[in-house]
Symmetry: D2
Subunit: 378 residues, 4 copies
């Protein structure tokens, strides 16, 4: 194993900063199991912001040029934390330069971009890791194990929502996140991508979808308090029904209009022999209902079990396993899984194909919505 691995950060917004912080935690949590990640170079859009990022993060170098970043022979990994519409360019350059890529979700702004990136990855052969951090919550890891062991039997139905609030205020001014050409996507891409991936991860591939997009507030002030208005070009909320390849049927909803919610990502899965529930606002626990137990002692021990799941980070040395974990830890573990995979010459998981499949579902939902809600095969 190499002593260290050099990270090149493409983008240093909230997410770029978060990734950078998390790399530095890995040697303490999992000492000796991966090369030490080194914050080598940060690339931001202006020299001033790049320099500030370098100072803040302790990067050895900074640049405003993706070309320079991806060409640097010292760099092992390009971490793509850019706005969605810039993913394609950065990823393709990194892959062409043979760098390992670690890419934030969604993979791309459009299915076309995603397919181009997949082609570039095929050609390059360099390892590619996706960020779908919720896979790494211990509750989700345990859900995957329970499902993989067939403990739920045939899956009949499920529901998944990812609810944010804040946009329901009509005075909230326009921003790049509400313009398709910049943000690339609304609630569907931003929030929906997470629940699409989780459903795939837990129950397998999508077969067909029936979608509905809604933009509740179509005109917003161009700035706080401004009289001039601008047109919102993305969805505020999306609902879609889906049939999975395993025959199950369910609904997904992603919304920025759910007053009162914070990070309310909830998944519920019902099978012939059991059921699972998860809520991101209580991220350390998986709720499991085992139909078999209903037949046991004491007239049956029928009831949901709230499973602790801390033991799913087995080698972790700190913090203590019984203490509650937060949202941040899911990112740290995603980064760890990526670095461990590439240091062992294994394919990172989730990888580009996972990002691409999510993009295919998003695209099918958009096409169904445009067609007034017909079923579309994925």
């Amino acid at each position: 194993m190499k002593e260290s691995i050099n990270i090149g950060m493409a983008g240093y917004g909230m997410i770029g900063r978060l990734h950078s912080m998390n790399y530095g935690q890995l040697p303490f949590i999992y000492p000796g199991t991966i090369p030490r990640p080194v914050l080598h170079t940060v690339c931001a859009s202006s020299a001033a912001s790049a320099q500030a990022a370098a100072r803040e993060g302790g990067f050895h170098h900074y640049t405003t040029s993706l070309e320079e970043l991806t060409a640097s022979p010292a760099i092992d990994v390009i971490d793509v934390s850019l706005p969605n519409s810039l993913h394609r360019k950065a990823v393709c350059m990194a892959l062409q330069a043979g760098k390992a890529v670690y890419c934030e979700k969604p993979l791309a702004a459009t299915l076309e971009d995603a397919q181009a990136m997949a082609a570039a990855a095929d050609k390059s052969g360099a390892p590619f890791g996706m960020v779908f951090q919720y896979r790494f919550l211990p509750a989700i890891l345990k859900a995957r194990e329970i499902l993989a062991a067939g403990r739920l039997g045939r899956i009949f139905t499920w529901r998944a929502v990812y609810l944010h609030s804040g946009y329901q205020n009509p005075q909230r001014p326009m921003s790049w996140r509400m313009r398709k050409e910049e943000g690339g996507c609304g609630a569907l891409g931003d929030l929906g991508s997470h629940i699409i991936d989780l459903l795939r991860y837990l129950t397998g591939d999508f077969a067909s979808v029936q979608g509905h997009l809604e933009t509740f507030i179509q005109q917003r002030p161009i700035a706080r308090g401004a009289a001039e208005m601008s047109t919102v070009s993305v969805d505020d909320a999306v609902w879609f029904k889906a049939r999975m390849k395993n025959g199950s049927v369910g609904t997904l909803e992603a919304s920025r209009f759910a007053t009162g919610t914070m990070e309310d990502l909830r998944v519920e899965i019902h099978g012939e022999r059991g059921a699972l529930k998860f809520d991101l606002m209580d991220p350390g626990f998986l709720h499991y209902f085992d139909e078999a137990k209903a037949q046991g002692d004491f007239g049956g021990e029928r009831g949901w079990q709230r499973l602790e799941s801390a033991q799913h980070y087995p080698g972790a040395l700190t913090p203590p396993a019984r203490a509650p974990i937060g949202w941040q830890r899911s990112h740290t573990e995603n980064q760890y899984a990526f670095l461990r995979a590439i240091s062992q010459n294994r394919l990172p998981s989730p990888g580009l194909e996972d990002g691409l499949k999510v993009q295919q579902v998003i695209d099918a939902v958009e096409r169904s919505a445009k067609a007034g809600g017909t079923w579309i095969n994925v």
Copy 2:
């Protein structure tokens, strides 16, 4: 006010027995406010069961003839607790005889039946009360007040589910509830009718719907352990999206395949200025989020409030207002509201129109589902 009011029970299954028991509680909970309900006559399908019902319930008389029941001059109210497909006949006979009617939900097995009953009611002029008991949970009463006062502002979105379990076991044998000609409806009519009514009660009328019905297990043993199979002719689960007349959009789901659930009726409503959540499994509380409070002291008191709602049964003398209430109480209060209305010559609420409107939504959902999920105006 009359001293007493004579009840004629049409049907004495689980629900008929429940109503009968509840009438006897009203003089203790609300003494002196309504005529004392008297269990006068019970009508069941066989003489033996009618006699047993009379003995059990302390009815003065029993019969097997709806004609006899509805013709009895001593009877003031006909309580229709029969299977859905028999509602039309009993209701029309009672109305023709000028009796007040108290009818279990859903109003009818088909929209056609419901319309015939509405015509009979128009002609008769006799008072008509529906059972939609969940309206009478204190949390729902409070939700109605909060919404009526405009505290949520413009409503954007909502979701409602009513989930039962038990049918997901493929060994569960066929029963009348799974045969359209007898039960009249599957999850849509049985469970869906409740959440359709609640949504209407809270947010107003439905404008259009897009439905999907699913029968997961189409063949079932004719009896426990039997090899011979029979065909299920109703839905196991239903999903529908709806646009309300107030412009809001949301989803409803009713299912008998939700392993792990009990009486999981949940409603969530998000508006511009606040939000509400309710769960029948925690029936004494309404969760309320007030966006305005987020701007107050202490950096904002942002968070859901779990409202006690016991004060919504203001004259109730027993049990103590702070003690947890159960499912049964919603029925008791529905019966009380009906008897109080007719004793004061007011129109019972909910009434026939509420039953009819629910039936129209059910019918529209079925037609949309048959057409592959097109939007249908209600």
Copy 3:
């Protein structure tokens, strides 16, 4: 089995009314299993209130004389729902007359009264049932089964609280409940008696206690808004530590000063091999932690199970078993258990001895508190 059983109600306050209402429900819930309870005679302090009670409840007779009530040869059961300080007189008269007695908790206002009643019961031989209704919540029935089966192993520790609110307002005026000579007891007798009984029921007898009583507000207005003050002579809150005969140690708290609480009775028990939790505000569920499961599949299924417990009312015909139950049901079941026992010539449980043992603990706690908190053997 007799056809019917005649009830004589001694007292018709909130609790007397509740009992009267509940007797009428039993034939519907458990038809054919007990003689039909008949509301025969009600005894209240004034002729007007007795007559009103009779009319409201449909009693055949009314009286203001306990002598007349207990002497009536037609009456089978005397239901003692009087203020605590009057229990002794009514119970002793009923027992002397050979009537079965059903007595509200606490058994008596003082240990001396309780002992006199025990002596009267011994002499009479008539059956004696106590009201400790929380024993009849299905969650508590299940907890008892789990404990009786040894599933928790050696019990180490537990905690129990019963918290009410309302008295923390210093403007709340004086009432009979705050005068020792009338109410007989404060939080200790009123609320503490319930948790003392539950602990006994679940984990066995008390060995020794160490108590502390507090009266936070010692002077209160004699009426709402009055300037004149009166002295509170009972405890507002009580805390006590106890060692049980099984060697376990824990704490109990009862309070009327717990702002924000409703009927917050909570019990938690920790043993070598498992643990249990119960909260009266969620009365249909028992939380069970099984240490053994922590060693099983998937790195251990470690976590609390929220057990449904509806199956603990096995013969109940209504309401449906999966629907949430409320506080009232615990009383109905206590009454049913009493009537079933006496109709089958079995000893009612809980019985007088249970009431007496609770009184002994109360007395020991009071003596310990007076002595500044020394340990006192029960």
Copy 4:
């Protein structure tokens, strides 16, 4: 402001590792607000472990000598993460050398040690920060604000528990944590110190206490599966009642025998005008009951509000404010508050006096327990 601040780590167990990891996060969360913490030197008990710690953490130097560590002129802060019994020596040396000290809780193994450290701090004048990390949970920060603003009115009563599990297994072998001479304390010092500090922080100083210590299992195998036994010399669990200087009365419990618990630290406070509840297992929320709201619209909005509290880390740039936080963050914030205070020449809070006062309560509880539970003034 200096560019950087050099940390000398005394001890590198689980907690030392955690602190070291957290220092590296501060520049990302709060860029530009404190000097960059630099992991300068680590001191561990053996050369091998010190070298391994240095490699893992990226420390510039390592040593086995506290003398060398505290004498190093380059070092600004000594972080004392040693076993309790070694605190006194390390702290006194650091103070004598004029270093800022950051000390894990409890301050010391004995009150005598704590007083010696206080004397050394007085003499030195160097800044002294304590670790009582739970003060820095946003819910606790908000609770402090609400209490400081008098929103609860007069405080009447409260309860606090800190429950761990694991020791209830009699096969669990002896360890240094169960030997007084090494661990210094059992549940009282380890867990009790946290809830003592929280109560002080929220409601002010302790006036008097009445304590009880229990060692349920007094003999344990010297190693897993060993036949030879060793004597436990610390408490497994502690209960104490306390009267605070503000007149309120309540109970505290700390236990390692609470089967089924994880990090179950719960605090409930009841005042005349409101109440607060907190549970460490749901660390992002404070539950607040405002008696005043019970008098408002809709028959009163009576009910607990679950306050989000993310806005209490106002300058934090990552992770997003609405995402759930975990246990780790409380430590990160404690470290940040300490470094910010000393970089601004303010007294760190919590400081030595807070550690000392907790030690005085611990000592009083031990003395009361030894005396059979008499009240002891703190």
